[in-house]
Symmetry: C2
């Protein structure tokens, strides 16, 4: 795959995160399930915002976080996602371009505002997501330039997009373009409730179209409707070329269709502050390794290192240069 000019093209919801601390009662009072993502309409988003405490704004979105992490590691990355031409859209575009990501997709001149995710951080560092998709919900196959996707070794797809028919069609177009050009398809299950909504189709994807699957423990258990991680791990073994299963403080397990199983511990961190972006940055580290000839074990260690950095501060994007962090903590 040496003719590829990009390592990864990611496709996802372009979202600005609005992060605030909250107590457990706030989640209960607002009917939120801790640790999950729920889609909300503009009125609900407004009401949650009025009720929540002071916040900071930071670019987010699952696949966008992964793209930013990859760029920080030194990868060549593209990102496809939709924003509006409003202030938050400008923020989103600035943040992802400023780390070197080739950000593609027309900026809408009308219609709904740039997507926001209202994130409540509880004292256990868990994050609970309330997403108003806005402009991101208008992502369509027309936004996916097949030549752009074909120029990458891997197309990275966000499961969250499956909630919207047009965005789902955009993802399928992206996957097809990658596979037709000899590239690979990476996919994240995103959220256990998202898996619940689309289990049958996600199972088909895992069996037929996904080369590299990312899932945390609750997502992979939800996919196979099993109670234990070991059962889920056994089930996924036969499906994807590589399954990357993340287990929070227990580290991660890589399972391949060739029968390998690699277990890697979590990277030690100073203090756990905010888990937002942990899975996204794990994927960034792993895919950086994979596109740069690393062993599966090193790929997983790179994932753990990148995830460890992002959970040590508020916000879902790296605060430090990840390439420098790798040089310091995981020299090749």
């Amino acid at each position: 795959m040496t003719d590829k000019t990009l390592d990864v093209v990611a496709i996802g919801n372009a979202i600005v995160d609005v992060l605030a601390h909250a107590d457990e009662a706030f989640l209960t009072d607002h009917g939120m399930v801790k640790g999950s993502m729920q889609l909300v309409d503009e009125d609900t988003a407004h009401q949650i915002y009025v009720d929540m405490g002071p916040a900071i704004e930071a670019s987010g979105g699952s696949a966008g976080n992964t793209a930013a992490g990859l760029a920080s590691l030194g990868a060549r990355v593209g990102f496809i996602g939709r924003v509006r031409n409003d202030q938050l859209g400008e923020v989103y575009g600035h943040d992802i371009r400023s780390v070197g990501v080739d950000f593609r997709a027309p900026t809408a001149a009308s219609g709904p505002a740039t997507a926001r995710c209202l994130i409540l951080l509880t004292s256990d560092a868990e994050r609970t997501l309330n997403t108003f998709l806005g402009a991101a919900s208008l992502l369509s196959p027309d936004d996916v330039d097949e030549a752009f996707v074909a120029s990458a070794e891997i197309v990275y797809c966000e499961g969250y997009l499956w909630d919207l028919p047009d965005a789902k069609a955009a993802l399928i177009k992206g996957m097809d373009a990658a596979l037709a050009a000899g590239g690979k398809v990476a996919f994240t299950l995103s959220d256990s409730f998202c898996v619940d909504r689309h289990r049958a189709e996600f199972l088909q994807l895992a069996e037929n179209r996904i080369d590299i699957l990312f899932a945390n423990e609750s997502e992979i258990c939800s996919l196979y409707e099993v109670d234990t991680f070991d059962e889920a791990a056994d089930r996924v073994a036969g499906h994807c070329e590589i399954a990357c299963l993340t287990r929070s403080e227990k580290g991660s397990v890589i399972i391949t269709s060739a029968g390998e199983r690699v277990v890697v511990p979590a990277h030690p961190i100073g203090s756990l502050v905010d888990t937002t972006g942990a899975g996204d940055l794990y994927a960034a580290g792993f895919l950086f390794g994979l596109t740069h000839g690393a062993s599966l074990e090193r790929c997983a260690r790179l994932g753990s290192l990148a995830a460890g950095e992002v959970i040590s501060h508020v916000g879902a994007r790296p605060e430090v240069d990840l390439a420098a962090l790798v040089a310091a903590e995981l020299p090749a």
Copy 2:
């Protein structure tokens, strides 16, 4: 002053901070003076933004930070400042209201955008400010409700406003309203370059109108055009009822017209991350103490505690409930 319904009304620029890490070369290449604030026009702000790295957005503005800090400490606070009806204006209004500040001033439906301050954080935790005033520059005497100001024990004024004739007139109206109602005037010199621009008038203010003056070492030295802190301290002694002089890691010195001199060390912090808001939060702690019957020494210790919290993380507003922090670290 028991008939007062508010402790403090603050008047200042309503600004959303845009914070990014940068190296020293970035400052040099862009002609910035490290640690200072420069006003920039919209084009310059745009160019700096294009050049700077990924950022986070967080409500800021000197007096606004002080108001938010006071509210977090449990004070009854109002704030007068101007935003536009854009997304950043909504962010600003949300953040300051959500901590309980009574935010007053019409939201402009047209004209320049809500003010932004592009903040470059260098590895020494110093911050360099580039402010596009936008909607904040339209603050005028009409925005100052005299009855609102008169309802507070103290009106807190930001020296930065002196750069704009209408905003300066608004400050003067606020000071007059406070004094006429038996209140006191607190004032921050804001920035040594700001002092340079307005030295003669700031000296007159210090002598005739300011009861409580806040300044850091370089600002107070600039005001009196002297080389050493001790000379400046001697000069200010005869002017204001109370002068609060902050000296970064050396703590602060309180000097009164009655001849008192109180020296208080800096509050120990975990790690120094970002000095943005240090002076603003010192003022918040001090004024909280002053309006709640504390001794000058305790006022200064409250200032140091609040400043210590805000410099231990990125952003100029408290991340924790300051009242709880006081209860834990500085019980009365």
